[in-house]
Amino acid sequence: MNDFLLIFRRDFTNKDAQPSPEELQNSIKAWQNWFGGIAAQNKLSRPLQRWDIAGKVVKSNKHVINGPFVEIKESIGGLIIVRAENYEEAVEIAQSCPILELGGNVEIRMASDPEG
C-alpha cells in the first residue's frame, strides 16, 4: 500500500461558481459519508485538514502575494491522504469525491520515497 495525496480544488472566488446554501448543507453530509466510507475500508491514512482558502504565495523573488493563484482560479479546499495500491485505485476513490459535484477537481499525487 502507498500513500496518495488527494487535493480538492475548486473556484472559491467567482460568485457565480458558488453553491447555494442548501447545496452546501447537503454537501456536508456527502463529505462526512465519503470520509467515513474511506475510513471503513481502512484506507484513510490521515484525516482531513482544513486550510485557509485565501492563503499566501511566496514568489521566487521572495515577494509575498495573497492567494489564490491568479493563473488558475482554484485553490486548495482541503486534502487527505489515502492508502491505495496504485494510481488506478486512488483515482477510483477520488471519482466519488463530492468536490466534483461542486465543479471542483481532485489532484492526486503519490507520496514519493525520499530515498528513491
Binding site: K29, Q32, N33, F35, G36, G37, A40, Q41, N42, L44
Partner: protein, 393 residues
Amino acid sequence: MVSVLCRLFGIAHMEIAEDIVSETFLAATEIWSTKGIPENPTAWLYTVAKNKTKNYLKRDNLFQQKLSPEIQYHAAKMEEFELDLSVKNIGDSQLAMIFTVCNPEISTESQVALALNLLCGFGIQEIADAYLTNKEVVYKRLQRAKEKLKEVNVRIEQPDLTEISKRVDTVLITLYLLFSEGYYSTTQNTTLRRDFCAEAMRLTYLLTAQERTNLPEVNALLSLMCFHVSRFDARANQDGETILYHDQDESLWNKELIDQGKYYLGLSANGNQLTKYHLEAGIAYWHTHKEDTPEKWLQILELYNNLLIIEYSPIVALNRTFALAKAYGKAIAIVEAEKLKLTDNLFYYSLLGNLYTDIDDTVALQHYRQALLLASSNADKTIITKYIRHLTV
C-alpha cells in the same frame, strides 16, 4: 484491601498483601461457619486484616530480615501503626492501584487480568472462565505481569497531573476492555459477566469521583457503560440465547441507568477533545431510542464516520455500513459493504446477508451460509441458522 496493603508495602511485596487478605478470608470462612456471621462482617474482616498485618510487621522485624526501607519505616512506628481501612483510603488506594496496574510496561491483556485479580478480587478460576481458558494460562499471565511490575518497581501512589494525562488513556483502555470482557464475553455465566461490568463501572466511577481524574473522556466512558448495561436484562432470553437489538423488549431496558448515562454524557461535553468514548457514548445514547427515525440513523451514521476516522476497526466499519443502510437504504449500503472485503469476518457475511434480504434472497442466503461456516460460538450459529431458516421457508 489488597490495594491498601500494597500501597503500604510497595509493589515488590504484593504477595504478602495478597497472603494477608486471603488468610483473613480463610479465617472468616472457618470461624463464621462454626460461630455464625458476626454482626458487622466488614468491620470483622478489617480488624482481622489489621491484626494480621501488625503481626506480619512484628515478625518481620523480629527476625531482622532484609527489610525494604518502607517496611522498616513502618515497623519502626509499629506502636502507633494503624492500618487505614477507611472508605476514603480504600478509594484512594484503589485509584493509585489502577494507575499502577495500567502500566504501559505490561501488555493490555495482562493489565486487564491484573485489574480483575488485584482490584476487583476475582479468583483465577473466574478469570479463566471468562476468557474460556484454563487456570494455568491465567496464573502464568498474572505471574508474568506481577514480575514485570516488580521489575520496574513502581511506587503505588497517585500520579501527578502530567502523569495522569499520560496514563489516563491506558487506564481507560483497560477499563473499557474489562467492561467489554463482561459485556461481550462468550461465557454463559451471566452472573460473572454482570460482575465484570459492575466492577468496570465501579472503577470508572472512582475516577470521576476524584477531581484530578474527573476528565471529560472518563465521564464519556462511564456514560457509555451505563447505556450498554441498561439493556443487560433485555439481551438474552430465559435459555440464555442472545436477543438482538431490534427484537428486544424495550420495557426491560433500565430507565434509571439510561438517565445516569445521559447525566454523564452531559458531563463529558466539556473541554475540546472528542474521544472515541464520546462518540461511542453518543451511538449508545441513540440506541436507547427504540423507534427508528431518520434522524436517529443519520446521527448514528455521523458518529460512526467520526469514530472510524479516529480509529479503524472492522466491527465499527461493519456497524457503520449497517447505519448507512438504515439512513440511506440497502442499495447504497451494499455498494459500500462490498468495498470492505472483510472476507474472514463472519459479521461481514451476516451484514451482506441482511442487506441482500428482500433485494436478492438467493444472494442473501449464500452470504448467510458463508457466515455460518465462519461461526464458531453456539450463540452466533443459532442466530445465523434462524436467518437461513427464515429465508428458506
